[in-house]
């Protein structure tokens, strides 16, 4: 019974945390630019307004289905990641399963955007998929590295190992090379500057989301909120020792997000080929060196 | 001697076109008046023989009292740095388009100037590939730069203004000032 309650409420809890984190990011960036920002609950208002639109422009059933695939892929990933208090599915799935299902949202968006026949959307989604090839390779190498280091692929075991040993056994202390590589790849995965070319607003009219309005965009924003929390949680579980209770979890989320936002606020945007080149020049060799370190 | 370079250019051109009237207006400016049938030959010689490679503009003047349009072609030479303005006159039609030939097969950008003159003055350039409007698209009215097109009258009749009768305007109109 407990499990059923968790299944129903976990998306809602993570959604609420995600929207507050996104609101916090807008406020933080506004304060860096020396202006007041929107209130922290601004993303709630945005999503509410988008779901409240009266007319709808649909481009066929594939377009509608693709949005559901986007949200469904993220929710599926969410259930496999252990959060404090709920790890029912996480004991059946491990790091490799998460690697697979993390790709479903991007593919869902590609299907939906391809259906709209808007050139801005096609350019945006091709950039997004190229960036995916850029940041996913170092990121998954770090997964494999951590799995090899601790002789287990289950994320739950990794968390227990780190929590049993205290701070000295956190992933980022025992293997800092892999930690730094994963941190840079994480910045690309979240879509923060300088790797924000997927959503370049003034170049290609928000890229893949050009033809999405109203309820489609509302669902995409929900997915973005949950997606941010999931990706940060993966990093926390692998490298920052997991979390014992919800308070520690939320603190770690916000501290990590603030660090990444500080880089976001002061950088411009790399071009797609520059970004992929950067990803393959710096995090990828670091990840390879880290894995080699473990082997020998 | 002043205007040595310009006078030497004028002499060279006068030999080929004896019926044209040349005048050196000031430093680096030469004015030519041609009969309209000779313009195409003049333009070909300009581009190929005398090295005036740059067509700066084509402009049009509406001489309503003479019943003629005057087309002015501005040619510029990069080496000598001299501007030659070739002026021709074509008859002006009251209704419909006046016709002239195009020079867009010599200079590609001449197409834009000719389209502009076509929609503003109503001069059709035969032989050009593309005579569509590009500034006043979706607007159907007479060519607006002609001197018998009264802008204010057209605007007041065609568009709908808001009714606005404040007291200060009524006072002004009663005193005889202000306009409609």
């Amino acid at each position: 019974m407990n499990v059923v309650l968790w299944i129903i409420f976990l998306p809602i809890i993570l959604f609420v945390i995600g929207t507050f984190m996104l609101g916090y990011s807008r406020k933080f960036i506004a304060r860096i630019e020396r202006r007041y920002g929107p209130p922290i609950q601004q993303v709630f208002y945005d999503i509410f307004k988008l779901m409240n639109k009266k007319t709808n422009i649909s481009h066929g059933w594939m377009h509608d289905f693709a949005i559901l695939m986007l949200l469904g892929g993220t929710l599926l990933t969410m259930y496999f990641i252990p959060v404090p208090g709920f790890s029912y599915f996480a004991q059946y799935g491990d790091v490799l399963v998460i690697m697979y299902v993390l790709l479903i949202p991007a593919l869902g968006m590609a299907l939906g955007v391809g259906e709209t026949a808007n050139p801005n959307g096609s350019i945006g989604i091709s950039r997004a998929l190229m960036m995916l090839a850029g940041y996913d390779i170092p990121f998954f190498l770090t997964f494999i590295g951590m799995a090899m280091l601790n002789n287990t692929t289950s994320m739950l075991d990794l968390i227990h190992l780190q929590q049993a040993g205290g701070i000295a056994t956190w992933g980022i202390i025992t293997n800092p090379i892999l930690g730094v590589a994963a941190l840079i790849a994480l910045q690309g995965m979240l879509g923060e500057k300088p790797f924000e070319v997927m959503v370049a607003p003034h170049e290609i009219a928000t890229g893949p989301m050009t033809e999405m309005g109203g309820k489609y965009l509302g669902i995409m924003m929900i997915q973005h909120a949950i997606g941010v929390v999931i990706e940060l949680t993966i990093y926390i579980n692998l490298f920052l020792g997991g979390a014992v209770n919800w308070f520690e979890y939320i603190v770690k989320l916000f501290v990590l997000f603030t660090l990444l936002l500080s880089v976001n606020a002061v950088f411009g945007r790399f071009r797609t080929d520059d970004a992929v080149r950067f990803m393959w020049k710096i995090p990828l060799p670091l990840a390879i060196i880290g894995v080699l370190f473990i082997i020998f | 001697m002043e205007y040595e370079k310009e006078n030497s250019i004028v002499e060279m051109m006068q030999m080929q076109f004896p019926e044209a009237a040349f005048k050196v207006k000031k430093e680096r400016r030469i004015e030519v008046r041609l009969p309209s049938a000779r313009l195409y030959d003049f333009a070909v010689r300009m581009q190929k023989k005398w090295n005036f490679l740059h067509l700066s503009a084509i402009s049009c003047v509406d001489w309503i009292d003479d019943g003629e349009f005057e087309l002015v072609y501005h040619f510029w030479n990069y080496d000598e740095k001299v501007l030659v303005m070739a002026k021709i006159r074509i008859p002006r039609e009251e209704e419909g388009d006046s016709h002239f030939e195009t020079i867009s097969n010599l200079w590609q950008p001449a197409k834009f100037f000719e389209r502009d003159i076509h929609e503003m003055f109503g001069v059709y350039f035969d032989g050009s590939e593309d005579m569509e409007r590009f500034i006043l698209t979706d607007w159907n009215g007479p060519p607006p730069m002609r001197k018998d097109f009264i802008t204010r009258e057209f605007a007041l009749n065609f568009y709908h203004y808001r009714d606005y009768e404040p007291q200060w305007l009524k006072d002004m109109m009663a005193a005889g000032e202000g306009n409609e």
């Binding site: 807008r26 506004a30 630019e33 020396r34 202006r35 007041y36 920002g37 929107p38 209130p39 601004q42 709630f44 208002y45 945005d46 509410f48 307004k49 409240n52 639109k53 009266k54 007319t55 709808n56 422009i57 801005n120 607003p201 003034h202 009219a205 928000t206 989301m209 050009t210 033809e211 999405m212 309005g213 109203g214 965009l217 | 500034i135 006043l136 698209t137 979706d138 607007w139 159907n140 009215g141 607006p144 097109f149 802008t151 204010r152 057209f154 605007a155 007041l156 065609f158 568009y159 709908h160 203004y161 808001r162 606005y164």
Partner: protein, 190 residues
Amino acid sequence: MDEKMTQRSVWEKIAAKLSKRSLWMLHYCTGCGAIELPPTMTARFDMERFGINPMVTPRQADILLITGYLSVKTLKRVVLTYEQMQAPKYVVGFGSCTINGGMYWNSYATMKSLDRYIPVETYIAGCMPRPEAIIYSFNELIAKIDRGEANSWKDYYNNYDFYRENQEHTFEGPIETYNDIKADAALFRI
């Protein structure tokens, strides 16, 4: 063009209170008034604290800001853009050129009164209005949404023949729109 507030249900009142705090403005600079938008958006007269962001596609925007004069060529594109936006949508006429022609009142190619082509919610007077005036009028629009009086978008669906006739009178011929307004009005019960 104002429809007086009729009986609103509780859900509509809550929806108005929540959705008035997030209005996205289409970043479409039609005329010379657009020069006043960057100061309004940046740090000195911050517009984002009211929830108003610039957004670049008409599919995602709520407010269409007609800044300045509209020549006939631009008017056709604005009509097409307006029809691509999703309801509820608000048009704000910016500057005196949209009110009664402004500085170009006797020009042969600009439209004089925006009201006849697309339904307008509020106007901002000035040539150009300062950023303080822009923010004041956005607050007025937010208050109007809160009271439930900002319903001019429904007028486009209900009185489409009036607008279409005016549009076709100004343009060279019948224009080709990509949205079927009457079918949409029946489909979404507006």
